[in-house]
């Protein structure tokens, strides 16, 4: 269960979130939308516990979290496989990860250091890492940015299959992405 009550967050004199409240039901999919700078990523950081709100409370219990951050936050010197394994509580064999890598088009670069990958490949690695981790709540901050249309469709379908029945909060600019996953949409506006 994830519940935000009357969250306010300011950066200096700029109020980014002003009394935001919402209850994210277990197993629900929620898309958080809004214009640039309206506080979508800030909200995600507050919900994840990375940022403390100036006022208000977040109730999250002891749920295990997983995330695709605004930035990829990958270990650049490690291979794609090692990045995936880093966050897994039980070490999966290479053979067990191959179908997942193939599904998002990363099979050919499984052993490459992340620093050698393109932006889109890094994004897919970050997404796959989040999807393959053990989690109760998944936070996705624009996980499909930088992907071409065809890859995006493939990766979105894969993501939908992997997240069925899980609590997922997706930050996006794109209404089509929100529609694709269904679920509830929360609109944020500039405070």
């Amino acid at each position: 269960m994830l519940k935000a009550e009357n969250i306010t967050k300011k950066f200096g004199s700029l109020t980014v979130l002003d009394g935001f409240s919402h209850e994210f039901a277990e197993g629900s999919f929620t898309a958080v939308m809004g214009s640039s700078g309206c506080g979508k990523s800030t909200l995600l950081s507050v919900l994840m516990g990375l940022l403390a709100p100036d006022s208000g409370t977040v109730t999250r219990g002891s749920d295990r979290l997983s995330a695709v951050f605004q930035e990829d936050r990958l270990c650049e010197n490690l291979s794609v496989l090692s990045n995936l394994r880093l966050v897994q509580s039980r070490k999966k064999e290479r053979s067990g990860l191959i179908p997942e890598l193939e599904a998002v088009g990363l099979y050919d670069c499984a052993d490459k250091p992340v620093r050698e990958l393109s932006g889109g490949m890094k994004r897919r690695t970050a997404l796959l890492r989040a999807l393959l981790a053990d989690y109760d709540i998944l936070f996705l901050d624009e996980p499909f940015k930088g992907l071409d249309a065809q890859t995006k469709n493939t990766v979105m379908s894969y993501t939908r299959g992997k997240t069925a029945g899980k609590t997922v909060i997706l930050v996006t600019h794109d209404p089509e992405e929100a529609d694709f996953f269904g679920g509830e949409t929360v609109m944020l506006s500039r405070a």
């Binding site: 979290l65 936050r73 270990c75 010197n77 490690l78």
Partner: protein
Amino acid sequence: MKKKLITAGAVVFWLAVWQIAAMAVGKSLLLGSPVEVVQRLVRLIPEKTFLPSILFSLGRIMLGFARGTLTGVLFAVLAGKLVFFEKLFAPLISAVKAVPVASFTILALIWISSSELSVLITFLITVPVVYSNVFEGIRSFDRRLTEMADIFRVPPMKRFFGIYLSQIMPYFRSAVKLSVGLCWKSGVAAEVIGTPRGSIGQMLYNSKVYLETADLFAWTLVIIVLSIITEKLVLLLIDITAKRIEKL
């Protein structure tokens, strides 16, 4: 393949330049030719003193390098953890960097025996290089990766090896790559000044005293080869360790 041919071509070109220069000078006392140097090296190898001299210098230079590497890493970790240590080490590291090897060597000869000289000198050469690089690695560590590890609840061991060490390893690698070559240069230079019995430095010194230019070149060639081999071996060890770390 093409790259290797170009490299080989460049080596052949400079050997030819050396040979022509030696022929132009016409006195092996002033400049021995590559052929003479190789002939001298072939005669040196079976000599009784050849291998012991190599082992003497190799052992001491590598000991100083290992001690310096450990100390440099330890200092860098402390400085990365606490600003107090960063400020404390800063003047010391700057001083060690700036003082010429010859000054250290002459001073060290007052304190320690000449046989231990190269250990101390290579230690002093290695510490600032390793310290500066590893400290730079620690400073440039992306703190957002710590947040990522917190969110995914990455256990401490995996966090240390997978996140912290993997970030710092390239800085450590380049420090080691630089240090090994410097250690051979400074270590042998120290031996030439201190002339410990049975060292490569003593052999170089003798070649100067007896005006054996071919010997000087032959021993220099030995030092270059040793420097390249030890550098490759140490880097191989680091790369294997890095791979192991990645699999943890």
